[in-house]
């Protein structure tokens, strides 16, 4: 196993605040929905709203 995911290094350059935003967003997409069917409606209604709120809050 030579290569690791370079995400950690990439995020390091962006700073902690950005990392939190990215991780929160990706957890909304990858977290509880891995491999499971989830409706587009659910995503737009729930997930997007959460991301938008996070962005607007400036977290």
């Amino acid at each position: 196993m030579k290569k690791n995911l370079p995400l950690d290094e990439m995020l390091l350059k962006k700073g902690n605040e950005f990392k939190i935003l990215f991780v929160k967003t990706m957890n909304l997409y990858l977290g509880s929905h891995v491999g499971a069917p989830i409706s587009e409606k659910d995503k737009s209604a729930r997930v997007r709203k959460q991301i938008e709120e996070t962005l607007k809050k400036g977290e």
């Binding site: 030579k2 690791n4 997409y29």
Partner: protein, 713 residues
């Protein structure tokens, strides 16, 4: 997802309750469950049953699900009774807890051997105070099943030999698998995240425009602010251009300076001219010195009275005269008495020196005197010669030799002076010639051009400086205006519009940055996943490849192929294909977990995804004899849980010798049939020197069915 138990009850070929129990995953790292069965016993039914459970697949009976219930069970049911058929698994969920889930078909017996579909239920056993009971799915159980086994990857995890191999490697109908593989890296979710964040970015932009539109006055100010910002941007850009131009002009100026100096080899034209004048003056001075020296030499020769020309003869003359004096041929006193004595001899009977001389006694002396008398010179000549001798005497101040010596010394000095002047003249001539040549070759035009270029550069430099000064003043003024405008906007911002707009602008910027980053991260994840998959598949496949071929994993689809002499080939068969596919399956199972571990490192927690159980049916079917051993070896110790289904005709000595030892648990599928045409060797399978029955005779009136039974190790 690892199994603890698979239970098949009255489903397809299986009659009654059939349990396949797995070793506890905690007690073994690599569990191998071996299922021995005759060809028609229902190996494939196990995979179909799992498909029914995990994917809710109607297995070709969408409108007659009762057909999935075992015929034997149906025929034994009494009329109006309820008959159930189910597939149940006890699995370790991604969270590590044990879950018992089953999909059940309920039917009613309408007449002997005839059923009517009643219901299909997905349910899970729950522990309750009143006792364990099954609870019907509200959506969560199906989601959990899909999480454990993504429907697109069902064929991948529960592998039916030839079919999947051809789909994976041959590329036929591989779209589903391809999509399934992309679910492993959750590509669709990444893509969706990018799309959503971009949508949010657009939405914030719309909000921003709407907000600004609702506040006209504020909007006007915002317009002014935007104008100022545009001006600042333009001036900043202009400033950068002028700074660059000034830098270029300064470089040109310096370069011209250096080039001009280089052309005149460090001297200016004027300096060269001055040097030339000086050299010419030196030349004329040297020529004058030569003339003066010549005159002096003439004067000295004149003064010497020509003595210097005879000086070489002085020594010889002096030597001769001294001899003559010694011999008294040049007597110092040529007096009368002396002359008479010589003339009267021999009567005088005395020598010329005056001493008495016996004329008879010494004939030699007489002869000498006579000889002397003959050689004596006239008085004038004697006087002259004596005078000459005196003049030649060394030490005499006015003697010829001294005078000649002095003249020679003076002449030599004059000659040395002349020689120096000649050398100086030559030196000056050469110097003059060199400087003239230099000046002749000095490119006056080029220097003039460079000087012009230098002047232009200087002008440009100064102009840029002026412009920059003006821009700085303009920027300062704009900055001042902006501060003033900001203050006015803040004053106007009673309803917090500015704050809202500023926030929205910041959010919009952040959304853009986030979307770009997710997109970039998605590419990185795909690349890293592909790179690791290639490494792992190569690690498994390359050492056992039958023809030195190398594993190749397609970057876009992640599907496997082989590479021979740099050429990618997908059209491969038999052993190669089987080994390649097995390598791919095992590698991907490991990588799926790796990916989740890596994401967890940065706090993205997609849930615990454990290694997978693989059910491999007919893996030895398409493999030539010499590669069965390799395949059999390959299956051992590569994954946490493997179920290998082997038919009688594939269970040869080679396969047996590898799998018998490695199996942790062994089952046989006993086919109950009334068929009497079976040959004795078809009825049994060997296991550790024992003959295991895989067929059992039933009455002709009974429906055939299969029972799974554990074989003691």
């Amino acid at each position: 997802m690892l199994f603890s138990q698979i239970q098949i009850h009255n489903f397809l070929t299986f009659k009654g309750t059939n349990n396949l129990n797995f070793p506890d995953p905690k007690s073994t790292d690599h569990a191998l469950l071996l299922i021995l069965a005759a060809n028609t016993a229902g190996k494939t039914s196990i995979i179909r049953a799992l498909r029914f459970l995990f994917c809710d697949d109607p297995l070709n009976h969408p409108h007659e699900l009762d057909k999935l219930i075992n015929d034997g069970a149906a025929s034994e049911a009494s009329v109006n009774s309820t008959v159930n058929g189910w597939v149940q698994v006890k699995v370790f969920s991604p969270r590590g807890e044990m879950r018992t889930i089953r999909r059940r078909i309920e039917a009613r017996c309408t007449s002997p051997g005839s059923l009517k579909f009643k219901d299909k239920v997905l349910e899970e056993e729950r522990h309750q105070r009143s006792g364990d009971s099954f609870v019907t799915d509200q959506g969560e159980i199906q989601r959990a099943l899909s999480l454990m086994v993504p429907p697109e990857l069902f064929d991948y995890f529960f592998f039916e030999g030839e079919e999947l191999a051809s789909r994976l490697v041959g590329g036929k109908s591989s779209q589903g698998i391809k999509e399934g593989l992309s679910t492993l890296i959750q590509d669709h979710q990444w893509e969706e995240a990018v799309k959503s964040v971009r949508d949010i970015e657009r939405k914030i932009g719309n909000d921003l425009n709407r907000l600004a539109g609702e506040h006209k006055e504020y909007q006007e100010m915002l317009g002014k602010l935007n104008f100022i910002n545009t001006q600042v941007t333009r001036l900043t850009e202009e400033k950068a251009v002028y700074e660059k131009t000034r830098l270029v002009a300064e470089n040109v100026y310096s370069k011209c300076e250096v080039d001009i100096q280089e052309l005149s080899k460090g001297k200016s034209f004027e300096q060269l001219s001055r040097d030339l004048d000086s050299a010419r003056s030196g030349l004329s001075k040297a020529s004058k010195q030569i003339d003066d020296s010549d005159k002096e030499i003439g004067r000295l020769i004149g003064l010497s009275g020509g003595l210097t020309f005879y000086a070489d003869g002085f020594d010889a003359a002096m030597r001769q005269l001294e001899v003559m004096r010694k011999e008294n041929l040049l007597p110092a006193d040529v007096s009368e008495g002396f002359v008479n004595r010589i003339l009267k001899w021999p009567e005088t009977q005395a020598c010329i020196c005056g001493r008495p001389l016996d004329p008879t006694a010494n004939a030699d002396q007489r002869s000498c005197i006579e000889n002397y008398r003959e050689r004596t010179m006239a008085v004038d000549l004697n006087h002259a010669l004596l005078s000459l001798l005196n003049s030649l005497e060394i030490g005499a101040k006015s003697g010829f030799k001294t005078r000649a010596k002095n003249s020679i010394t003076e002449l030599n000095q004059a000659l040395t002076g002349r020689d120096k002047a000649v050398l100086a003249q030559k030196d000056c001539q050469e110097k003059t010639a060199g400087l003239e040549e230099q000046r002749q070759h000095l490119s006056v035009e080029e220097i003039q051009r460079l000087q012009k270029e230098q002047r232009d550069a200087n002008t440009s430099r100064l102009q840029c400086g002026e412009k920059l000064k003006a821009i700085d003043i303009a920027l300062k003024n704009l900055g001042h205006d902006r501060v003033q405008l900001d203050a006015e906007m803040r004053g106007l911002n009673r309803g917090g519009v500015a704050g809202q707009i500023a926030k929205l602008i910041a959010s919009q910027k952040k959304a853009k940055e986030l979307a770009d980053f997710i997109d970039e991260a998605r590419t990185e994840v795909k690349n890293a996943f592909h790179s690791k998959l290639q490494d792992l598949v190569s690690q498994y496949y390359d050492p056992v490849a039958p023809d030195n071929s190398k594993a190749h994993v397609d970057r876009a689809s992640l599907l496997p192929a082989i590479r021979v002499d740099g050429e990618v080939r997908r059209n491969i068969g038999g052993a190669q294909r089987q080994l390649l596919v097995l390598s791919h399956i095992v590698s991907l199972a490991q990588l799926r977990k790796w990916l989740h571990d890596e994401l967890a490192k940065i706090d993205i927690a997609p849930g615990k995804i454990d290694e997978h159980c693989f059910v491999l049916d007919s893996v030895f079917g398409p493999v030539a004899d010499q590669f069965r051993e390799k395949c059999a070896e390959f299956l051992v110790g590569k994954a946490r849980q493997v179920i290998v289904l082997v038919a009688n005709q594939q269970w040869d000595q080679t396969v047996r010798s590898r799998l018998e030892k490695a199996a942790n648990r062994v089952y046989r599928l006993v086919r109950h049939t009334s068929n009497e045409d079976l040959k004795p060797e078809e009825r049994t399978m060997k296991f550790k020197q024992r003959e295991i029955e895989v067929f059992s005779r039933i009455k002709a009136s009974e429906k055939p069915y299969t029972i799974a039974e554990e074989v003691p190790l």
